[in-house]
């Protein structure tokens, strides 16, 4: 403790003084720059603010440690500008065509908590994505306190995320504000978005806006991809790790007509051809794999309020896992080693557009995407074949009302078409979902301190009938340092019983299900308090939040009732999830960002007639993240430490009765720690990064139960609670050329 005080003294700045920042805010109208009065300008995370006057000019005091200046005006995209020193700024405000989009101009700060959005939202910027350089959306959350990432099983390499301690399927996954990566793409979808394609990620907790659909029970995760009209002319990335995984990325933007018509081409390839079996259980720790992806997108922006974007992505992936001696080309049989093979082909396309009227009071937006997904796989002797065709379209009309635009009304309609063909065991399943829906949302924002958002939607489902989804969000900054948020809302979700749970096939137990599809229904309530202070001249953010999810209906995976089957059945009884999280963000010394977070999970489900802790779920998570950059950002250092609490391992009662070892930790796993570190060196056009995941080399013991006899009754590779891969050292190279 004494040492702590000593540190405090060292970090205490000798004096602190205020500078004045001046500038000018304008917008593009009628072909020229027009001053924009009335824009709210404030230091991020504080209430110190001002507004631009008639000629668009403003001035604001800058204290030590205040760098992020926020420009906000209804009907325009919010701008966040990093201000290094005194001097005049010139800020261009663009009409807000894409609703709810948060634009970060200079992504210098990693993750930040929005105090403006009525929904509890964490933005993960490009800078944060550089901290964990590997490799795709699934791995982008290593430095994030709210999202947990884990392996689904020990053979397929599938990764799943959890938000509020609830499986990723309860969060609405979006790419560019459109639902994506669901259905057949649920299991591996998070690895389908390469890191270098992403611009930023937004994680919102609790029921999301009704404009985005009736899903989003626990929250919403949106990945924004790089835009063709961005500065990036050419980007190249090569990556390799010591397990033999190699990645290559190349993307480039072409300006066909200035920044009016632009196109971007994205290429991704990754490969792992090494057989890794570090725990010598005869099974590959991660499957060998190969993936290719190509994407092309277009953007048209006439800078007079009209914007159109379209594009497509094609993906092909093979995964080969199982015992080290397997030959995947041979017909699976009891006399051959155990093998897993998963072949995937996926085509996606999207079209979206928006128009804002010249007075900025009305806007229309169109969002649509399409995907075709084909999977052919086998897990030992079990085949699973599936294909899915999915279409989503949504149209939204927005009207800003009142002299200060304190009222915003959004109305619109959406349509989902989802067609499945699946084959498992002797069952052939065909099913088509058709869901037209209507929605309306009203936002009241009388001033910068208060936002009230209420929304309702009605959907007409061809299988589950008509249902109503009400949601409400409230934000109030009741004192200089305090912002509270509250939300309540209902969510529904179509549980695709097989396609979302294919990883359960890596077990000797067969799946038992009565329905291949069911609807899940839950209420979510949330409350959070954010405090912003200046501590020793630098921003200090304290956040406390509590979320509760109450399931009315749910698909329950029961691994505990039968020794012969994994039972997938509707919930019979209670099921809930409580999540209590605290986090602290501060810069103890200049350019050193510190994040401390702690979350307690209380997740209970009625399984086999008994309300119990959800299995394979840590009961708490702690996170320490440190990020340091040298002056002028030539070097960047990152260090993350994750503390994961213990939890329950599911077991069948007979198993427990007949067990030989009488150790008391049967049915439980102990807390464990994961450590990651990375160093990045920036050059003018290049950057090079070296890092290590899971530095302490902790792995779950015996991830594959019954590994010596994979066709016997004890085989199970799905009871996974911890890492199945040990220390991974990696090295990567980036090349970056920008438009000037």
């Amino acid at each position: 403790m004494k040492r702590f005080y000593f540190l405090l003294l060292i970090f205490l700045p000798v004096f602190s003084f205020a500078d004045e920042i001046k500038g000018f805010v304008f917008t593009r109208e009628e072909g020229g720059k027009q001053p924009l009065p009335g824009v709210n300008i404030y230091w991020e995370g504080t209430t110190q603010g001002t507004a631009s006057v008639d000629d668009g000019s403003f001035s604001i005091q800058q204290k030590d440690g205040q760098h992020m200046l926020v420009f906000s005006f209804v009907g325009y995209k919010q701008q966040v500008v990093r201000v290094e020193s005194a001097g005049a700024l010139e800020v261009l405000m663009e009409p807000n065509v894409e609703l709810e989009e948060v634009t970060v101009i200079r992504k210098d700060r990693g993750t930040y908590l929005s105090v403006i959005n009525p929904i509890q939202t964490e933005s993960i910027s490009g800078a944060e994505l550089h901290k964990a350089a590997c490799c795709n959306l699934a791995e982008s959350f290593e430095t994030n306190p709210s999202v947990d990432m884990s392996y689904s099983d020990a053979v397929t390499g599938a990764k799943q995320i959890k938000l509020l301690g609830l499986d990723g399927t309860y969060s609405l996954m979006q790419v560019e504000n459109m639902p994506n990566l669901r259905g057949l793409a649920t299991t591996f979808g998070l690895t389908y978005i390469p890191g270098p394609w992403m611009e930023s990620i937004q994680v919102s907790k609790g029921a999301a806006s009704v404009l985005n659909g009736y899903d989003a029970i626990a929250g919403q995760i949106n990945a924004e991809l790089k835009k063709p009209d961005s500065n990036e002319k050419l980007f190249l990335n090569a990556f390799g790790n010591m397990e033999g995984r190699y990645e290559f990325n190349a993307n480039g933007n072409i300006r066909l007509i200035g920044d009016t018509l632009t196109t971007g081409i994205f290429v991704h390839a990754n490969q792992l051809m090494t057989k890794n079996d570090h725990n010598h259980d005869g099974f590959l720790d991660i499957p060998m794999s190969q993936m290719y992806q190509i994407s092309n997108r277009w953007k048209y922006n006439n800078h007079k309020g009209l914007m159109l974007q379209t594009g497509f992505t094609y993906l092909q992936e093979d995964r080969l896992g199982g015992q080290t001696g397997v030959d995947w080309d041979m017909t699976p049989s009891l006399s051959n080693p155990y093998g897993v093979s998963i072949d995937t082909k996926r085509l996606e396309a999207f079209l979206k557009g928006g128009y804002v009227t010249p007075n900025g009071k009305n806007a229309i937006a169109w969002l649509s995407n399409f995907s075709r997904h084909e999977t052919e796989s086998f897990y030992g002797l079990t085949d699973y074949i599936g294909d899915e065709t999915r279409l989503f379209a949504s149209a939204i009309y927005t009207k800003y009302m009142g002299p200060l635009e304190e009222h915003t009304l959004n109305v619109g309609g959406s349509y989902i078409y989802d067609d499945f063909n699946e084959q498992l065991y002797s069952d052939a399943i065909q099913r088509t979902e058709k869901v037209p829906g209507l929605f309306a949302e009203y936002t009241f924002k009388p001033n910068e301190n208060l936002t009230l958002m209420t929304g309702i939607r009605t959907d007409f489902h061809n299988i589950f009938g008509t249902f109503v989804t009400p949601r409400m969000h409230f934000r109030y900054r009741f004192a200089e340092h305090f912002t509270v948020r509250a939300n309540a809302g209902k969510g529904y979700r179509t549980a695709n019983v097989l396609s979302e749970n294919t990883y359960l096939l890596a077990s000797s137990r067969a799946l038992q299900y009565t329905d291949d599809v069911m609807q899940e229904e839950a209420w979510n309530y949330g409350f959070s308090l954010i405090q912003n202070y200046m501590l020793l001249g630098r921003d200090l953010t304290l956040n406390a939040e509590f979320f509760r999810t109450d399931f009315k209906t749910q698909l329950v995976i029961d691994r505990e009732t039968s020794a012969d089957y994994v039972i997938l059945a509707p919930l019979d009884g209670t099921s809930y999830a409580n999540s209590l999280q605290f986090d602290v963000r501060w810069q103890p010394i200049e350019r050193l960002d510190l994040l401390l977070a702690y979350r307690v999970n209380d997740i209970k489900q009625t399984v086999g007639g008994e309300l119990r802790d959800k299995p394979l779920q840590s009961d708490y998570k702690g996170l320490i993240n440190l990020n340091y950059t040298t002056n002028l950002k030539k070097w960047m250092f990152d260090y993350t430490l994750q503390f994961n609490g213990g939890g329950r391992i599911p077991y069948v009662y007979e198993e427990w009765m007949s067990r030989v070892d009488m150790s008391s930790d049967f049915g439980h796993f102990k807390p464990y720690t994961i450590m990651n570190a990375q160093v990045t060196k920036y050059f003018r056009y290049w950057s090079i990064y070296l890092g290590a995941e899971n530095l302490t080399d902790f792995t779950q013991a015996n991830p594959v139960a019954g590994a010596d006899n994979p066709f016997g009754s004890d085989f199970d590779a799905t009871n996974i609670w911890g890492p199945v891969m040990g220390r991974k050292v990696y090295l990567g190279l980036r090349f970056n050329l920008n438009y000037e």
Binding site: K33, D55, S85, A88, E90, N631, K634, W635, F683, R684
Partner: protein
């Protein structure tokens, strides 16, 4: 495997120590007047100059059109830095530190009396 790890760790440490040692030497300051128009140009110059040899600190401001560079005397020269700015297509007219301070101070003062300066610049 072990060897590679040791190398990796050594690299990490070496990498971490390097910038700390480098800052001990005497630094020189040079100031320029330039002709940037926008914050993008400011970004371009800033991103380019910071990777010129010996550059330790940098202030680039497009409103006052000034550039202030602090660099390691043995590793670069005023002329070398001026050339780098010109290479990106901008003027680099060397001014004294005193003149630089004056321009920056005048600009800060000018803004208090309205946005005339902005209007000039937006018409250019």
């Amino acid at each position: 495997m072990k060897k590679l790890l040791i190398i990796a760790v050594a690299l990490l440490i070496g990498v971490a120590a390097n910038p700390l040692y480098a800052q001990k030497k005497e630094n020189k300051v040079v100031c320029f007047k330039s002709n940037m128009d926008c914050s993008n140009c400011e970004q371009t110059i800033s991103d380019y100059l910071k990777f010129e040899k010996g550059v330790k600190d940098l202030k680039v401001d497009h409103v006052t059109n000034t550039i202030k560079v602090e660099y390691n005397d043995g590793k670069n020269t005023d002329e070398g830095l001026a050339k780098a700015i010109e290479k990106k297509g901008y003027k680099a007219e060397k001014i004294s530190t005193g003149e630089y301070e004056k321009i920056v101070a005048a600009s800060a003062h000018g803004h208090e009396h309205g946005s005339e300066q902005h209007k000039d610049r937006t018409q250019n």
